[in-house]
């Protein structure tokens, strides 16, 4: 029976990109549907009535919501190839811990970089770099967070990697001198086939970033 896989998404989303990459890593055919977040489709509202947010993966009519939930689901359904999580319970718990860290400690400062200005933005910069440094320590000298293979935590980071340039320009700072190892990992991940196919043009991200900044603060 052919699988029907639909992804409701929004092109610049750091969350949506995780789902796109996960599907491509597993070689799953899917239908990408762009959502207009100011005019959400009836399908989105029906499939994610709780949060009304993207990404939503609809697999044979059943919705899966929340980006890393979607990634785990994809890993469990298409478990015969390219596992995102290691096999041991302890290593898996570490991967889940770091994804939780990314979505709690990195998210807010990353958002504040473009949502705030002045003193608030300076604080955001500091918190953002601090969080990146902690992640860099965790990465160490491994090529990927999970070790030798691209996996769960790397997928979680891609959206942030893709926004590095925009963040630097918006908040007037440079990430590389602070986190050279993480920057190198970012460059490596951004060249991966599934990522290249899923990533919007960096010019487009930049233009989008400046546009939303204007909306948030004059």
């Amino acid at each position: 029976m052919a699988d029907e896989v639909i992804l409701l998404d929004f092109w610049p989303s750091v969350f949506g990109i995780r789902a796109r990459i996960a599907l491509r890593e597993k070689g799953v055919e899917f239908e990408y549907r762009e959502e207009n977040l100011r005019d959400k489709s009836p399908l989105l509202l029906q499939m994610n009535p709780v949060h009304k947010k993207i990404p939503v993966l609809i697999h044979n009519g059943k919705p899966v919501c929340e980006s890393m939930n979607v990634v785990q689901y994809i890993d469990e359904v298409w478990s015969d190839r390219n596992p995102f999580l290691p096999s041991g319970p302890y290593q898996r718990s570490q991967a889940r811990f770091w994804v939780d860290f990314i979505d709690t400690k990195l998210l807010k400062p990353a958002d504040n970089l473009w949502q705030t200005k002045g003193e608030e933005q300076e604080i955001a910069k500091k918190e953002y770099i601090e969080a990146l440094k902690i992640l860099e320590t965790e990465l160490g000298d491994k090529p990927y967070f999970g070790g030798d293979t691209f996996g769960f935590v790397d997928i979680a980071m891609i959206g942030y990697y893709s926004w590095f340039e925009a963040s630097e320009k918006l908040a007037n700072f440079s990430i590389e001198p602070e986190c050279p190892i993480l920057m190198a990992a970012a460059k490596r991940c951004l060249q991966r086939e599934s990522v290249v196919k899923s990533l919007p043009d960096s010019e487009k991200i930049l233009a989008f970033a400046f546009k939303i900044r204007k909306i948030y603060c004059v």
Binding site: E66, N69, Q72, P89, Y90, R92, S93, F97, D100
Partner: protein, 222 residues
């Protein structure tokens, strides 16, 4: 191979994030050492094991540290696969994880703040009710979130809502979850109250209500 298992749990008696871990360990029959921490005077051990968040619960299994309650629950299920707490079906697992986050993020936030902020109480109580309605719908036709028996989501929801938030609301004279609007939820709570391991793992009622009152007053006067 029978290796001696060493399991230690650092926690705080009133923490819902801790209580759910104890429910899972008890369901699987895993013996553990419990170490009570003090919120305002964290032990050197806690700070060493969880330097990033400095929070409980912390599970230490044969010297390896696992942090964050939902991560710990999945770890327990994978390290001790008997008496599973999560379904094998990926779709059911994704739903359980989704609702667990809803409880720990939005319901937890709205619920606690509804107690702390007298000025926003009405709006937050209403918001909490809207969020819990999603859980209400999940319980239709089921004894537990896990189906016929308790599992992951029952432990998460149970530790947070009836055996924590509701006690806080009760202490303030608030009835947030009514029989009229939430019959499934009320039925589920009655089912949960009959389960031995749940009864063993929830904080003592009166002491808990008093504690919640104290915490609310502390936040209000801050």
């Amino acid at each position: 191979m029978a290796e001696k298992e060493e399991v230690k749990l650092l926690g705080i008696w009133a923490s819902p994030f801790n209580r759910r871990i104890e429910m899972a360990l008890k369901l699987k029959g895993i013996p553990y050492d419990y170490v009570e921490e003090k919120l305002l005077d964290k032990s050197p051990l806690l700070l060493e094991l969880n330097p990033i968040h400095k929070k409980v619960p912390v599970l230490v299994h044969n010297g390896k540290t696992i942090l964050e309650s939902l991560v710990i629950l999945e770890y327990i299920d994978e390290a001790w696969p008997h008496n599973p707490i999560l379904s094998q079906d990926p779709y059911e697992r994704s739903k359980a994880r989704f609702f667990a986050k809803l409880i720990d993020e939005q319901i937890f936030d709205a619920g606690f703040v509804s107690m702390a902020r007298a000025d926003e109480k009405e709006a937050l109580v209403e918001k909490t009710r809207e969020l819990i309605m999603h859980l209400e719908k999940e319980l239709v036709g089921k004894d537990f979130f896990g189906g016929k028996s308790v599992g992951f989501l029952d432990f998460v929801a149970g530790s947070m809502i009836p055996f924590c938030l509701e006690r806080g609301w009760e202490g303030m004279g608030l009835e947030v979850i009514t029989e009229e609007k939430f019959p499934e939820f009320k039925r589920w709570v009655k089912n949960m109250e009959k389960i031995e391991i749940v009864k063993e793992c929830i904080p003592p009622r009166e002491k808990h209500i008093e504690h919640m009152n104290f915490m609310v007053q502390r936040v209000r006067s801050a």
